[in-house]
Amino acid sequence: MELKVLKPPLTGETVQMLRAGDFVTLQGIIYTARDAAHQRMVRAIADGEPLPFDPAGQVIYYTGPCPGFDNHPIGSCGPTTSSRMDGYTVDLLKLGLKGMIGKGERSKEVREAMREYQAVYLATIGGAGAYLSRRVVKAEIVAYQDLGPEAIMRLEIVDFPCIVAVDVHGGNLYREFTKGEK
């Protein structure tokens, strides 16, 4: 099994090399954001206000972790359902977001925008929160602390496993199984 290593920030060139079904690992910095953080970021974009981090080239991980303990920077931190972020995603892709990590299908609108703006959607293993927490070596809150587990965090990750689920060439691992295409 060939294993590709991705080190954000990503370029369009790197994204183009990825194909749905590829096993990859990530190294370096990614940002967490889920429902409430996305809502705030998209509102900030609409209001012309600065974002907590520049999404250009970055990867967002859809997760709301458990708190860390016993000298571990983070608790259980698996992916949440990505489709809830679909309505906010295109605005971030327009600003150069290059990758998203989550679980489950994405909308047609998001997949088309991913093609247009050259971004990749990576699935990691939902429900493997304990396992994935040990791939995070550093975690710090960068914004929206009042949101509790929904705050935006910067994570430093090592050997973080993902499978390319939607690529920029029309590949979509979910497509052939799922009913009710939106």
Partner: protein, 276 residues
């Protein structure tokens, strides 16, 4: 009459909340292991292997199996000869508060569905109770994640839809859900009663261990086989194992009704039952 102190209920619930969130039930672990042995697709095998490793690690280190430690459902089978000294509902919520703090679990409950401020301690839980003969109290703590809960459905079918109508609705629910509810699933199906009863039956079905005798074992097997024929597979990325099991609960219903509810559970369908 037997008296149970509310403080004892609090301590027992706290312990059960920690146990449920960190230790995968043996029947589910075994089912994941069997699924791993049967899968051929590399991504399906890989995912199942990681899930087994995740369960081992969570148990060894007292980590939450999944960061979504859920909106907790607490089911009480309350013997009518049991007298609870103190406030039972407050005692249960205090147990959840305590267990979630001690376990370092995520607070996932918002106070109001519109304003959406986090309560900060994962309370309140949802309490169901049934009064039965006897002098014991059985409490099941069932942390339920939203990824799977969000994909459940209820239908008020026409009686003429019959068994096929039920099968179609259940399979369609799994298909619409796809990878979002973290398959391989545990599927709780409630048939009969009225609208809220069907939903409650589906939840009760989900709380049962896999492979327990049910009212219609053949239908349960048909539902399981049909769901697994969809090919959705672990995490929706393809494979043979879309569901680990289907549990069915039924209740008498109206001459004009055929309510069906499907409550989906993820591969980490967690539960802990205590008896006082």
């Amino acid at each position: 009459m037997r008296t149970i102190k509310s403080e004892d209920i609090t301590q027992a619930v706290a312990k059960a909340a920690i146990e449920a969130n960190t230790s995968l039930p043996a029947d589910i672990y075994q089912a994941l292991k069997e699924a791993y042995e049967q899968e051929k697709l590399p991504q399906a095998r890989y995912i199942l292997e990681v899930l087994l490793e995740n369960a081992d690690l969570a148990q060894k280190e007292g980590l939450a199996l999944c960061q979504d430690t859920g909106l907790v459902v607490v089911n009480i089978i309350h013997g009518q000869e049991v007298y609870v000294q103190g406030d039972l509902q407050a005692a249960i919520n205090e147990g959840i508060r305590l267990g979630y703090r001690q376990g370092h679990f995520r607070a996932s409950v918002v106070k109001d569905p519109f304003t959406r401020d986090n309560t900060g301690d994962n309370t309140p839980c949802i309490i169901h109770s049934e009064i039965v003969p006897g002098d014991t109290m059985r409490i099941t703590v069932f942390p339920k994640g939203a990824g799977s809960e969000n994909m459940g459905r209820v239908a008020m079918l026409k009686p003429g839809a019959g068994v096929q109508g039920i099968i179609d609705f259940v399979v369609e629910t799994a298909e619409i859900a796809g990878g979002s509810p973290c398959p391989p699933l545990v599927v709780g199906v409630g048939v009969g009663g009225n609208m809220e009863m069907a939903s409650y039956l589906a939840k009760k079905a989900l709380m049962k261990p896999l492979g327990m005798p049910g009212p219609h074992p053949e239908l349960q097997q048909t539902l399981l086989d049909s769901i697994n024929q969809t090919g959705i597979g672990p995490q929706g990325l393809g494979g043979r194992t879309t569901a680990l099991g289907v549990n069915l609960e039924v209740y008498p219903t109206h001459i004009a009704s055929l309510p069906v509810a499907v409550n989906l559970g993820c591969h980490s369908t967690r539960r802990c039952t205590i008896e006082l």
